[in-house]
């Protein structure tokens, strides 16, 4: 038994201020095993693994790797011990080359007689990239020149190049396209085959079940159970996570109910060099229009373009008859468009401001009477708005960075609802959000729909698209490559066929 265990965690504890993030977790991870780790938002998965990877120090508890006592001081140290992790948030160093990013913390590796051997570094970096069949990345060029996904892949290389005994992957798949995921899965299996272990964190239970040998479930910082993936169903997992049975799926149940024929938004020949070409479509009142595709298909740019933040777009966007300037956020907002961006950390919310400010920010013109803006009024307004989506918080003066991803997303939606927007553009609205919060967001969409709001949902999760939208448009390198109307027997395969 003993030699079977790769990593052993003994009674780990971690608290942040008032929150018990990880509360006495003991865990064994065997050699050559792929271990899934699931749990609701804030259940402690990231925190637990961050401690294993040396990003956080446990308050108490001990760890061993292959029986050897193990207490990592920092990430590089953990790497030396054979543990590496890909974290939830983007974790690359801007303004430095790809190669430097891959080897940061391991420079001494390339010091031969006192000199830093750049050539060797570039060569080796290149090798790793090729080894993982990641193309289109120049190791010498600046990391800023690459997209979020490419940067994640580079982090992947950084984590993999040390041939770790334990590889931890925290909610990474959400930012990866199908192709990127394929690479990730390949890496995971390779690691397994070479007798090493993998911990895989994701909210996509299906993915977890397909990929992993066994699954550990966490709730409120405590370990609920570790079960074999075989013969496990998603619903079983969900009920383990939530602690009670969940019946049915959380998607809309209604089918074939016809939406109004009144066009609220008409897009004609939207062009955006290298991202979109000649995209035309219309959005009807009370319709949920889904956009699907690979992450590079341009669907995210489409969202930005509609909101006026995409650069050098051309084409016309007509709102209830009148054409609007597609280069002005102001005008987009004035004409009732609300946009929920994919990048929650920087674009959606002001993390180091309180909930109050984040909600009121869009509603100043309503709140300010003449030259007077009443703080009390502001507070009450924010309070009642926050209550609408019952955001989990102490009070509206809590800072947003202290909120869980799910609650952050609620705040983002609130700020547009508060403004009374009637056209919503939601980019990856449920990314990295747990099942419960997901369900409530879907219900919310339906309510909004019924209130006559028109909603555009951009998502990489096809089931979600099928589940919520009345109509689905698939984008493929900048063009609309397929249209599907809501129906029971619409399958992922149908969509995928248009995507690639």
């Amino acid at each position: 038994m003993e030699e079977q265990v790769m990593v052993h965690l003994q009674d780990l504890h971690k608290t942040f201020g008032s929150t018990k993030a990880v509360d006495g977790v003991s865990l064994d991870i065997d050699k050559g095993e792929i271990r899934g780790l699931v749990g609701e938002n804030g259940s402690g998965k990231s925190t637990l693994m961050c401690m294993v990877a040396g990003l956080l120090k446990p308050d108490s508890g001990s760890m061993t790797v292959e029986g050897q006592p193990y207490a990592p001081q920092h990430q590089a140290h953990a790497n030396d011990k054979g543990v590496s992790m890909i974290v939830q948030e983007v974790n690359t160093l801007a303004g430095m080359t790809v190669a430097e990013n891959i080897f940061v913390g391991h420079e001494q590796k390339f010091i031969n007689h006192g000199l830093r051997d750049l050539k060797a570094m570039f060569v080796e970096a290149k090798e790793y990239l090729e080894e993982m069949q990641i193309s289109g990345i120049n190791v010498k060029s600046d990391i800023d020149a690459y997209t979020l996904e490419q940067r994640k892949l580079i982090e992947l290389v950084r984590a993999a190049h040390i041939k770790p005994k334990l590889l931890i992957i925290d909610e990474t798949t959400t930012v990866l396209s199908q192709k990127g995921r394929a690479e990730l899965y390949k890496l995971i299996h390779k690691t397994k085959d070479s007798g090493n272990s993998v911990v895989f964190i994701s909210h996509d239970l299906r993915e977890v079940l397909d990929l992993c040998d066994s699954v550990t479930v966490m709730r409120d910082g405590q370990l609920v159970d570790t079960v074999s993936a075989r013969g496990m169903s998603e619903n079983d997992l969900k009920s383990l996570m939530v602690g009670r049975d969940l019946v049915g799926s959380y998607y809309r149940e209604d089918y074939g109910m016809l939406t109004s024929s009144e066009v609220v938004l008409e897009v004609r020949n939207l062009n955006c060099p290298g991202k979109l070409n000649d995209v035309s479509f219309e959005l009807y009142r009370g319709e949920i229009l889904g956009f699907g595709g690979l992450s590079e298909s341009g669907m995210h740019n489409l969202g930005k373009a509609l909101f006026g933040v995409e650069y050098n777009t051309t084409g016309s966007v007509t709102l209830e008859g009148e054409t609007i300037n597609i280069h002005s956020i102001k005008e987009a907002i004035k004409s009732g468009i609300g946009y929920v961006p994919k990048d929650r950390e920087h674009e959606a919310l002001i993390n180091n401001a309180d909930i109050l400010d984040n909600i009121c920010i869009t509603c100043m013109d309503q709140l300010q009477k003449g030259v007077y803006l009443s703080p009390i009024k502001k507070k009450n307004f924010a309070r009642e708005q926050a209550r609408r989506l019952n955001i989990k918080m102490n009070d509206v003066d809590q800072f947003v960075y202290t909120l869980s991803g799910g609650n952050k997303q609620k705040v983002t939606l609130t700020k547009w609802l508060a403004r009374g927007a009637n056209i919503f553009v939601l980019d990856s609205p449920t990314r990295g959000i747990d099942v419960m919060t997901k369900a409530m967001i879907y219900d919310l969409l339906t309510c909004m729909k019924n209130d006559g709001c028109s909603i555009i949902v951009i998502s990489e999760e096809l089931l979600e698209l099928i589940g919520v939208s009345d109509r689905i448009l698939i984008l493929k390198n900048g063009n609309i490559s397929g249209e599907f109307v809501r129906s029971k027997d619409l399958s992922e395969e149908d969509l995928v066929s248009c995507m690639i």
């Binding site: 990430q75 140290h77 690359t92 430097e100 420079e107 006192g114 830093r116 650069y311």
Partner: protein, 308 residues
């Protein structure tokens, strides 16, 4: 291509400036000898510019460099009377290193941005300079050391510094770590980079450079006098500007070269204006404009880019 073009901007600016002034003042401006004098002068100020390089890379600012240069020079000058050349160099360098160390420790240990701390420190260093000065108002360096401030040596010294900085930047972990910290301190820390050590080292280097510049400058001017009321900070701005130019071109040419070109450009500009009989007040105006132009040319931000 674009990369090259951007790089040429700096050289182009130099050439154009030269040509314009040459046309305006054919007889007075731009003789070989005067250009050589100019080179000597900017070789001195560039030492400090190199000192600030790593700091700017980390996004740190050190306003004490001017005061540091003066204090170190004073100490060196006093010691040179007793111990000769070793006294001058070692005394000054050790002083500079100590001050740099203090700045480094302060900025890495104290919860406050470097620029603001350093402003506080300037006041202290300046008054220390007065104390060391010991009543007198100006010190004069023995003429035997004047060589240090002139053609072969001053240039040799600053080229040496340039080489060292280049080496550190390109061929040591330190260079990478500085860059990493400048890019994101938390990530750098999580990668096991020793933030404090790196910071302190960077400040140490800048301190030493400042001291060296002080010495060379002293040997060039032969006299040194203490500064008061933050007046020493004015000496920081020119090297700072040169270094910023260097960083601005980082992506297009070797920063070490760019810094040198940058400081020579500034010197050329002022010299040109001087020979056109413009007072230094007027020269300020031009330097201001030049600064603006340089940043504008080197930057091409996009809509919604965040620039503070």
């Amino acid at each position: 291509m674009n990369k090259l073009k951007k790089g040429m901007v700096l050289v182009g600016a130099l050439v154009i400036t030269y040509v314009v002034f040459k046309i305006l003042q054919p007889s007075r401006f731009g003789s070989l000898s005067s250009m050589f004098i100019l080179l000597q002068q900017c070789m001195i100020s560039v030492i400090m510019a190199y000192g600030t390089y790593f700091l700017l890379e980390m996004g740190a600012f050190d306003m004490t460099l001017g005061a540091n240069a003066i204090l170190s020079a004073i100490v060196g000058c006093r010691l040179s009377v007793i111990f000769g050349l070793p006294g001058l160099l070692i005394g000054a360098l050790i002083t500079g290193a100590c001050l740099g160390l203090v700045n480094g420790i302060m900025t890495s240990k104290i919860k406050a941005p470097s620029m603001i701390i350093s402003v506080g420190l300037v006041i202290i260093y300046e008054s220390l300079g007065l104390v060391v000065m010991g009543g007198g108002s100006t010190l004069r360096i023995d003429s035997q050391f004047r060589g240090l401030g002139m053609a072969p040596w001053s240039i040799v010294i600053s080229l040496m510094i340039a080489a060292i900085i280049f080496f550190l930047d390109r061929y040591t972990c330190f260079g990478v770590h500085v860059n990493a910290i400048g890019s994101s301190e938390p990530i750098a820390r999580s990668m096991g980079i020793n933030i404090n050590k790196t910071k302190i080292t960077a400040f140490l280097i800048s301190g030493v450079c400042a001291a060296l510049m002080g010495v060379v400058n002293l040997c060039y001017n032969t006299t040194i006098s203490a500064a008061t009321n933050l007046s020493s900070t004015t000496t920081v701005f020119q090297p700072l500007m040169a270094c910023m130019i260097g960083l601005a071109f980082k992506k297009h040419m070797n920063p070490i070269v760019a810094i040198l070109l940058g400081s020579f450009f500034l010197a050329l500009l002022q010299n040109g204006l001087l020979t056109n009989g413009l007072e230094s007040s007027m020269q300020n105006i031009f330097v201001g404009v030049a600064l603006l132009v340089v940043i504008k040319v080197t930057s091409n931000p996009r809509r919604y880019d965040v620039i503070k």
